[in-house]
Subunit: 360 residues, 2 copies
Amino acid sequence: MPRQAQAQGSAQPPGAPAQAGFLPGRIMAAEMAEQPDRLAGLLSRRHEITGQVRSLIGTGLVGTVLVARGSSDNAATCGAYMLQMASRRPVSSGSPSVHTLYRTNVDFSGYLVVAVSQSGQTPEIVEVVERARSAGARAIALTNDLDSPLAGAAELVVGLEAGEERSIPATKTVTSQILAFALISSAFGDIGLSDQVAGRLPAQVAQVLADPAPAEDLAGWLAGSDRLATVARGLLYGAAAEVALKVEETTSVFAHAFSAADLRHGPIAAASGGLPVLALAHPGPTSADVADVVAALRRRGASTRLAGPVPASDITWPEGPEILAPVLAVVRGQQLALALARLTGHNPDSPSGLTKVTAT
Amino acid sequence: MPRQAQAQGSAQPPGAPAQAGFLPGRIMAAEMAEQPDRLAGLLSRRHEITGQVRSLIGTGLVGTVLVARGSSDNAATCGAYMLQMASRRPVSSGSPSVHTLYRTNVDFSGYLVVAVSQSGQTPEIVEVVERARSAGARAIALTNDLDSPLAGAAELVVGLEAGEERSIPATKTVTSQILAFALISSAFGDIGLSDQVAGRLPAQVAQVLADPAPAEDLAGWLAGSDRLATVARGLLYGAAAEVALKVEETTSVFAHAFSAADLRHGPIAAASGGLPVLALAHPGPTSADVADVVAALRRRGASTRLAGPVPASDITWPEGPEILAPVLAVVRGQQLALALARLTGHNPDSPSGLTKVTAT
């Protein structure tokens, strides 16, 4: 059933009005289905974007500060790893309240600020960018809206061009944001992402979208639970956070992501109490650590599933460079969230109490 | 009953062997009871510590990177706010895997690294400090063990002198770490923490410890739940994370902290599904935002409790400077974790599957 609905959703133009008889989540499904095209569009602007970023950053960069909330913050978490590897300078996640509430005058000389917001409207994000620029920062805005206050506050706007997002849970915007971080990072140095390798991503995302069955199986595994822990390390950690948030937004399941290293410090105790754990892994330097945590969880009797193109995984995605794996993992998470919402009687297009733009 | 046990625990020397007939958590209770003395000891070394920090940092600091895991990372989150306000330079939370797994050579010129570990043994923390120093960083270790590998790797060791910690859930070490961050921060600039004001903290902690009844009431509120969200903003956010971790470690309840701003982006959906929410607030620039989130949660029918010296709170602590409020909030969280563990038949001194030192 969810597979049919998804096909139906993707055949339906995203701007069409809601009609009786459609399954819940058809807008979300339609927006998910746009992702291969949106990612291809962004990739076609790669050299324009990297050229602009190189002109902006110049020399003497001492660090980068990322400013975002919600799904955009999960994309920024992926970006933090990419940018550290590419810029070889520390990257921090901004603490907006330091600037907007405590009103500390932080010296941003030598820093790049990257602010991420789908709408570009969130006032606290705009205020942090304005304060950082007046204190010496160069600033990039990653947003869908080139006329938004955030776009106006930054020196360089990287337009996501993901199109209007009508479903409350962000999907196509998040994968575009993650890819945009990879492209921005590649302006700093070689991160092993040739045009040829990057160019395979849209087809890989389409391949995942065409195969929702494993995500529907995962939804069946989770259907009786009101809790979910996701686990990853390194580049996939931000994807694990986004998978958790997507499930939480669409189903009200209390979900949270852990670094595999942090899980050992306390949260593993909860896993012995029946907490389902979804681990994300990709072949590379972090996969052994995730495999080790999964083995420890299973020894403790925890209900654990493994995702990714690694041995003995329960759900996978096409193998490629680890730097793009977060995009594929997030699409798997979208499928899981959509299937679980449908299975448990939620409508992911308008979860109770959520709005697209928050005031802080 | 828990009140009696706590008194009994504190009368029992922490080094005494376990005896039949003691209530679960007597070691944790005894270590909690040491906190006023441990904090007073740290305060007595304030000027020695600030002098050493000033000599180390010199001029030209561009930013600070914090490296920690588990409870120490929660103390570091409090420290990130303090250090941004005091140093007026960005502060980031280190991503150890960038260094230890991806082996990126990050340039730390101009940076201070503060590494936090009770035991000073965690290999990945030590490795990050070694790599950062060889790439230009100055480094401070906050640890209980002056002979540990971490102490050996840093230029300046701030000994916590919290004494041996025998209970698995860290208590006295965490409050000492938070206070140590406040003292280190005061070496950078005026953070409104005179010796006179800071000197009141041990008595305030003793006052909280002498009054466990409100925390026992909170434990009764949580006794039927396997989930808990904690919420705060700014300086108290790290304390909210530590309260969540303490409850999780001692009871296997799946607990997680949210910034009040992030809660609005998705997790608030889970609150309508019966998720208990404990909000922490302190009079100051962030209290209105927390009050606003609590009101929104209550409108949605969420089971919400408010902690702190603010109007209509359910559990409080003595009012003082906001920069020290995390210490008092964390002690309240320790009381809650201890009481909830006892109420639900757990022994917080040795939760299943946790060890004091993890390998990553």
